[in-house]
């Protein structure tokens, strides 16, 4: 009787695996090239929320540029949780980076008073955009480049505020799924309190990302990686995923393509920018 060895149809999680040391080396080299060599800017500034994404970016920036060249900004609103502030401080202390706290409550509430009954979604978007306004202004004050902290999962799911979270010109983790962010964070020594807490945008009390999205990050990442590999829903279901979750993820991806692009411009000439006139971003 010969032994029989079965091969899987395909390896579901192969696309999510990372060599964390290699990833750290690659992303820190990216940051040094983009800031120091291309732009001749030695300093980085980032919004530090207390969540894992900005924590990891702070670690990467500190490793790439030196902690003395990394400036974090905490930007709490009056409903932001104390835990978020404390966790952000934990990152600052662990790395020895600089940090300012600039409360956005007055600026946000000043606008919201004139905003004609904003619902929670609009309020969240105003906070996100206010934080980006602050970040870019502080960038000018500090002579530091704003660094983005959005991950691939939220970018694919459209779970971010357009022209807010996605605005900084350089983002080292935008092609990493959330589960890869977790893996790299563990490797780089991000405090476990930050890694293990439920991810939240902290725009409302008791809000969690997974509650908002309707699917866990682990499941979303596994489904997203299958979608990006070109598999159809029934093929993804065949390897053990719930069809409703697949449809939810695909719907989110397919309804948010516009969020991953620049604004749509009417083309009227043969020299339209980024249509006919094509030059790379680093040219």
């Amino acid at each position: 009787m010969l032994p029989v060895v079965d091969a899987p149809l395909h390896r579901i999680d192969a696309a999510l695996k990372i060599d964390a040391a290699l990833t750290e080396r690659w992303l820190t080299a990216f940051l040094r090239d983009e800031l120091i060599e291309r732009r001749r800017i030695t300093k980085a500034v980032l919004g530090l929320s207390g969540g894992i994404d900005s924590a990891l970016v702070a670690f990467l920036c500190a490793r790439a540029l030196g902690p003395e060249n990394v400036h974090a900004i905490r930007m709490p609103y009056r409903t932001s949780s104390q835990d978020s502030l404390d966790d952000a401080q934990r990152i600052v202390d662990a790395l020895g980076i600089k940090c300012d706290t600039i409360e956005i409550t007055d600026a946000v509430d000043g606008y919201l008073r004139a905003a004609h009954e904003p619902d929670p979604r609009r309020r969240g978007n105003v906070m996100a955009r206010m934080r980006m306004l602050v970040l870019f202004d502080q960038s000018a004050r500090l002579g530091a480049l704003p660094i983005g902290t959005g991950n691939k999962t939220e970018r694919m799911m459209g779970y971010f505020t357009w022209h807010a979270d996605d605005t900084p010109p350089v983002n080292p983790i935008g092609d990493l799924f959330k589960t890869q962010v977790w893996a790299l964070s563990r490797h780089m020594g991000v405090p476990l309190e930050v890694i293990d807490k439920p991810p939240s945008a902290d725009l409302e009390a008791n809000q969690t990302d997974e509650g908002d999205m309707g699917v866990t990050y682990l499941t979303a990442d596994r489904i997203l990686s299958q979608i990006l590999a070109g598999y159809r829903d029934e093929q993804i279901a065949a390897v053990g995923f719930d069809l409703r979750e697949i449809e939810l993820v695909r719907r989110r991806v397919e309804s948010t393509h516009w969020k991953r692009h620049l604004p749509t411009t009417a083309l009227v000439s043969g020299t339209a920018i980024n249509e006919f006139y094509l030059r790379p971003v680093d040219y």
């Binding site: 040391a21 990216f30 291309r38 094509l278 790379p280 971003v281 680093d282």
Partner: protein, 302 residues
């Protein structure tokens, strides 16, 4: 017969041709300063003097082959070069208004630069992150050419990913395959090595051992708009042994002394190329496809 090669893993400043040639002059000066003897052959990556992703700027930053060779020659002399040296370098070529991703093999430092061969990239990647054929035309011929170190062929980046290319080069007599490349690194799941680099290593060692050829791989390095060129320059023996390599990100010179007799020994030990030559006429009945006529290559004879 032995000869010395130096592969320069180059990191250009995007679009700054003057600065990149100045950097190259510094590399030449380093080679001239010793203490090691001057190499016989210097190999640079694809698009080394401009950066790879140029989009429409390719038309602004292209050279004729003669002008590019003259520029290499001028930098060699400016660095203090007084003897001749052979060089391979990738560049965007303007050939009478038709643009190619090309590499030339030239001898510089003599009375006038002498171009032994210009290879125009045949497989222009135009998928995913790549957009070459939107801006460039395909080369239409894979030729080998004589060098003082034996017959050689150049393959540019994706050219080398198609097994038929080194096969044809070897059948036409190549003993050395030179690959100027600009390969954006991708795939982080590897064990200490990018998956795209793992693929390159497999490709290089397989083509070397299958055909008994030296493989000289020169990789561009540095990030271009988030895309990290994966360096990993390498020298593989005709037995398929990785003799030495660089990592993805270092800007460095990889040197080696190669022995032409190794090609003969490797082919004697594993005579796959001879076997292929014998069987090829039979395979040709299955494989032969008419080459498109009226191509630029036919008209110019190149």
């Amino acid at each position: 017969m032995t000869f010395d090669v130096a592969i320069v893993q180059f990191k250009p400043r995007k679009g700054d041709v003057a600065a990149n040639f100045t950097t190259l002059r510094g590399v030449f000066a380093q080679l001239l300063a010793g203490p090691a003897a001057l190499p016989d052959l210097v190999v640079l990556p694809e698009a080394a003097m401009t950066g790879y992703f140029l989009e429409g700027a390719v038309y602004e930053l292209s050279f004729t082959a003669d002008a590019f060779a003259a520029k290499l020659d001028a930098e060699w002399r400016a660095a203090g070069g007084t003897s001749t040296i052979d060089i391979v370098c990738g560049f965007y070529e303007n050939n009478d208004g038709t643009y190619h991703n090309s590499a030339l093999y030239a001898t510089i430092g003599g009375a006038a630069p002498r171009i032994a061969h210009v290879h125009r990239k045949m497989f222009l990647p135009t998928y995913g992150v790549f957009d070459e054929e939107r801006f460039l035309s395909r080369g239409r011929a894979l030729d080998v050419f004589p060098t003082p170190f034996g017959v050689a062929a150049m393959l540019i980046c994706e050219d080398a990913w198609h097994a038929i290319m080194p096969m044809i080069a070897a059948l036409k007599g190549a003993r050395m395959i030179i690959i100027p490349s600009a390969s954006p690194g991708r795939g982080l799941a590897g064990d200490g090595m990018l998956e795209s680099v793992e693929r390159w290593r497999a490709t290089e060692t397989l083509m070397a051992s299958e055909h008994g050829v030296y493989v000289l791989y020169a990789g561009l390095t540095g990030f271009e708009g988030g895309k990290g060129m994966s360096g990993s320059s390498a020298i593989v023996s005709p037995r398929g042994v990785l003799l030495q390599s660089l990592d993805e990100l270092s800007v460095a010179i990889l040197r080696a002394r190669l022995d032409n007799a190794e090609v003969d020994l490797a082919r004697a030990t594993l005579p796959l190329l001879g076997d292929l030559s014998a069987v090829l006429p039979d395979l040709w009945y299955d494989m032969a496809l008419p080459r498109p006529r009226n191509s630029v290559a036919d008209v110019t004879g190149r």
